[in-house]
C-alpha cells in the first residue's frame, strides 16, 4: 500500500479535543486512492469520529484485509497500530487480537470484495462471535484495485465500465448481518457525513460487533445500480474517456441537505441512489421490523440508511467465553503457570 507523509502543518485555530489533540492529529498518510473516491470520505468521517470521541490513538487498532478499502487504514490515525492482513481474513485477525487484548478499540475496514466474496465466511463468523469492534464495509459493488470486476454486492443488471451486465443476485451485508444475529447494524452513504459520524460513533462504542455498511462510490469503475437509462446516459458521455487508466478528477459525491425522508443523490455516472433515512418513531431494537423496513425500501428501489438495528444487551465474545476482565496480555505469567507442585499432583492421575 503506497502512502505519502503529509506535511505537519497546523492551523492555529484548530480546536482541540479533551485529550488536547486537533482533528489533524487523527489523520494518517496521504490517500493514494483516486481523487473523489468515496472511501476517502469515509476516512474523513472516521477521523472526525475518533477526534470527537477523543479516542486515545494508541488505544485503537486499525484492522484490514486487502483492497482499496483496506488501504485506507493507513490514511487515518497515524498514531494507532494498524494491521493490513490478508484478503478477506481481517475478521479472524481482529478476533485473535481482541481475544488477547479486550481493552483496545478495534476498527476494521473492509470492502464488498473483502467481506462479501473472499471473506464472507470470516465476516459471518465474526458476527456470530460478536467480537467487539467497529466493522466498516466500504461498499462500491466493484473490485477497484484489479480494475473493475463485479463484486458480490453488485446489483442484477448493473453494468461494468465495459458494458457487461451483472446477472448474479447481490449479497446485502445488512440483511446478512441481521440474519446472523448481529447486535449492531447500520447503513450509510460516504457522502453523508452528518449521518455517518454519529453512526460510526455509536458503532465504536457498541459492546459487540458493529457492522456499518457504507455505500461508497467508485469514481473510476463505477457500476452502481440506477435506472438503465441513466447508466446508458453515462456511458454515452464517457466514451471518449473510457481508457481504464484514466481517472477523471471529480468532486466527491455529497448528499444534498434535505428534510425529506428520502434523499436523492446523483452519482458520478449520473445515476441516482435514493437514501431513505429511518423515519421518526422507527424502533431500531426490533430485528424483524428492521428486516421488513430494509426489504420494503429495497422493493421501492431505495436504500435504507441510518442505525437500522441495535441490541445493546448482547454478549460479546468475552462475555460468552467468561474471560477475566483484565486483558489476557496483562495477566502475569505467575497466574498462568500452575507450577511443579500442581504438575506432580496431576501426574498421579497418569499412573
Amino acid at each position: 500500500m503506497t502512502s505519502i507523509t503529509k506535511p505537519p502543518v497546523r492551523h492555529p485555530g484548530l480546536r482541540k479535543n479533551s485529550l488536547g489533540f486537533t482533528v489533524r492529529d487523527y489523520e494518517g498518510a496521504m490517500s493514494t486512492l483516486c481523487a473523489g473516491c468515496g472511501h476517502d470520505s469515509v476516512t474523513a468521517a472516521l477521523v472526525q469520529t475518533c477526534w470527537e470521541l477523543a479516542l486515545p490513538p494508541h488505544r485503537a487498532a486499525k484492522m484490514s484485509g486487502i483492497g482499496c478499502s483496506s488501504k485506507t487504514t493507513a490514511y487515518f490515525m497515524k498514531q494507532s497500530h494498524g494491521f493490513n492482513s490478508v484478503h478477506g481474513r481481517m475478521p479472524s485477525v481482529a478476533s485473535g487480537a481482541n481475544a488477547a487484548n479486550r481493552d483496545l478499540y478495534y476498527i476494521g475496514i473492509s470492502g464488498d470484495g473483502d467481506s462479501l466474496s473472499i471473506g464472507l465466511g470470516q465476516l459471518s463468523h465474526a458476527i456470530r462471535r460478536n467480537v467487539r469492534m467497529l466493522y466498516v464495509i466500504d461498499n462500491n459493488g466493484v473490485y477497484g484495485l484489479t480494475k473493475g470486476q463485479f463484486s458480490a454486492s453488485a446489483d442484477i443488471g448493473s453494468t461494468s465500465k465495459k458494458g457487461e451486465a451483472n446477472l448474479q443476485p447481490p449479497i446485502d451485508p445488512v440483511l446478512l448481518a441481521l440474519t446472523l444475529g448481529a447486535t449492531f447494524v447500520a447503513r450509510s452513504f460516504s457522502g453523508d457525513k452528518a449521518q455517518l459520524v454519529p453512526v460510526l460513533k455509536a458503532g465504536l462504542l457498541h459492546n459487540g460487533l458493529a457492522l456499518v455498511d457504507i455505500i461508497s462510490p467508485c469514481v473510476t469503475f463505477n457500476d452502481h445500480e440506477g435506472s438503465t437509462k441513466s447508466y446508458k446516459f453515462t456511458r454515452e458521455h464517457e466514451v471518449e474517456i473510457s481508457a481504464a487508466d484514466f481517472v477523471p478528477l471529480r468532486r466527491e459525491v455529497v448528499a444534498p441537505e434535505t428534510d425529506e425522508a428520502v434523499s436523492v443523490v446523483t452519482m458520478h455516472d449520473g445515476s441516482t441512489v435514493r437514501f431513505r433515512k429511518t423515519p421518526e418513531g422507527y424502533d431500531p431494537t426490533n430485528r424483524e421490523a428492521a428486516y421488513a423496513h430494509i426489504r420494503a425500501c429495497q422493493q421501492r428501489g431505495e436504500v435504507a440508511t441510518g442505525l437500522l438495528f441495535i441490541a445493546e444487551g448482547g454478549q460479546d465474545m468475552h462475555a460468552v467465553a467468561k474471560t477475566v476482565e483484565t486483558p489476557l496480555v496483562d495477566v502475569p505469567y505467575e497466574q498462568l503457570c500452575p507450577g511443579n507442585d500442581a504438575l506432580q499432583k496431576l501426574m498421579e492421575g497418569f499412573r
Partner: protein, 599 residues
Amino acid sequence: MSGINDFAFKMATVNGTGSASANSLLMQAIFRMGIPVTGKNIFPSNIQGLPTFYEIRVSKDGYTARPSEVDLVVALNPSTYAKDVATVRPGGYLVYDSSWPLEPELVRDGITILGIPFGRMCVENFQGDRDRTLLRNIAYAGALAALLEIDMDVVGQMIIEKFSKKKRLLDANNTAIRLGYDYAKKNYDCPLPFHLEKMNATGDAIIIDGNTAAGLGAVYAGATVGAWYPITPSTSLMEAFKGFCEKFRKDPETGLARYCIIQAEDELSAAGIAIGAGWAGARAFTNTAGPGISLMQEFIGLAYYTEIPAVFYDIQRTGPSTGMPTRTQQGDLLSLAYASHGDTKHIVLFPANPEECFYLSVTAFDLAERFQTPVFVASDLDIGMNDWMCKRLEWDDNYRPDRGKVLNADELANVKKFSRYLDVDGDGIAARTLPGVHPNGAYFVRGSGHDKYGAYTEESDAYQEVVDRIARKFAGAASAMPAPEFKMQPNAQVGIVSVGGCNAAVLEAVDRLREQGLPVDYMRIKAFPFSESVKEFIDSHSPVFVVEQNRDAQLRSLLAIEAGVPRDAMIPVLDYGGMPLTANVVVTAVSNHVAQAVA
C-alpha cells in the same frame, strides 16, 4: 520376542461397541504391575460399525515401538476374521467368541485356538443390548487376565476407581470380569507360556498421549489464546488444553477464565486468530493436521514476513489430500519447512514422544517470541493419540517465558522514533511493540513489501534489505534449536538418521543390529533449521541411512538442501503405509544393504 513380560497381543473389535475402555483397562493394569507397556489404537475414520484394533506391547526391556509380531489375537469382529487370524505369529494364540460355531475363516494350523463364549455368558448374566454389548469387552479383559496372569487385585482396584459412584455398573463390571476370568481358568491351561510377572521397571513413569502432553505444555508455557478447527488427529490437543485450563486457569475469586479458546469456522481463521493474538502480545497457538496446514499457507507467510510469533501444532496424518485420517505419517516435513508462497523458511520442532510434546511446546513458544516467527511442532497421530509410557513430567518453577525483544512503555517513552524492522544489534532480530502500550510504539503491519522502517515499498533494495535480514535471523536461529540426540557406539561406521516418532523403533533396531554384530551410530534430529552437528554426523559416517515415514524421503531432501550433504550420501529407509514404524523395517533395510555391500 515372546516370553515372560515380553510379548504383544491385539484386540480386533468393532468401533462404537465400548472396547476402548476394556483395552485401556488392560494396558493400565499391566503398567501398574510395574511392567513397561505401550498401547496402539488402530482405529477407523468412523464413529460406529467399522473394524478397530488395539495392540498392546509388553516389554521388560522398555521398548515402546509397535511390535513386529503379535503373540495373541482376540478376534471379535467377524468382518476381519480372515485378516486377524493371519496376523498371529506361528505358534501363537487366537481367542474367539465360541457363543457361535467356529467360523472356517478362523481355522489355521500352527496356532492354538481358544474359544470363550463371551456373548452367551453376557446374554445369560445381563439385561438389555447395551449392557450385553459393553460388558462383553470387560469379559474378554477378564479372560486375558487369566491367560496372561494380570493381577486381579489391580484390575479390581481399577474397576472400583472407575465405577465407585455407580454401584450398578461396579457390580456388573465385576461380574463380567469374573465371567471371562473363571471361564478361561476352568477350561484352559492358564497362564499361557508368555505372560506377566510383576516387575519394578516402571519407576515413577506415567502413561500419557502426546496431544494431552502438548496441551499441558501450552498451559505451562503460558499460552492464553488457542484457536482451532476440529480435525483428526489433532482435536484432542485443544480438548486437553481446555481441560487443563478449566482446572488451572480460573480466577479463584471470580471463576473467570484466564484463557480464550476459539473454535473457528475453518483452519484459515484459526491461523488468523493465532496470529492476531500473537501480534497483540499473547502466547497463541493453533493445532491442526496436514489438510489444515494446507489451508493456512497464506497466513503462515504473513506471520513470517511481518514477523509475528505463533505456534502451530501439526499432528501429522497420512496424506495427500484427505488421505487416511486415522493413520500416521511424517508426510508434512517439507510443507512445514517451506510453508507459504515466496521465499519462506520456518522453525520446525520434532517431538519423538509425549514427554517431548510437553517440553518442546514450551520451547516452541519461546522460540516463536524470540525469533518473532511462526514455529511448528511436527507431531504425528502415533505420538499424539496413542498411550505411551514416559518419564514423569517435571517443571522448573524458575522458568520464565522468553518474550524476545518487546519494548515496554518506559522504553518506548524514551524512543524518539520507533521503526519496526530496524536491526539495531546485528542479530537479525528487530524489536517489536504491542498495540496499546505507548503512543510511540505504533506501527503499521503490512504483508505487502515494506522497508526496514515498516513503510510500504516497491524499491528493490529496500525490499531486499528486509528479506535478507529475515534470512540472517533464520540462520542465526539454528544455534538456538534443540540439539540432535546422539546414541554412539565404539567402532561404528554405519550411521542412522531419523526424526520424531520413528525414534522408538530405531532405538530398538540399533540394539538388535548390535546383537547381530553390526554397531551403528544414531542421530535423531529434533529441530529445523539444522545445527552444525547434523552435517558433521552425516559426513563422518558411511553408509548413512535416513529413516522416515513418508514416500518421498522428505527429511533426506531437506538435509540435502539445507545441511549441504550430498543427497546420494544418504540411503532412504521409508515406511509410509500409515502404521507406526516397527524395528523390523529398519533392521531389515540396514542389514540387507550392508550384506549386499559386503557381497
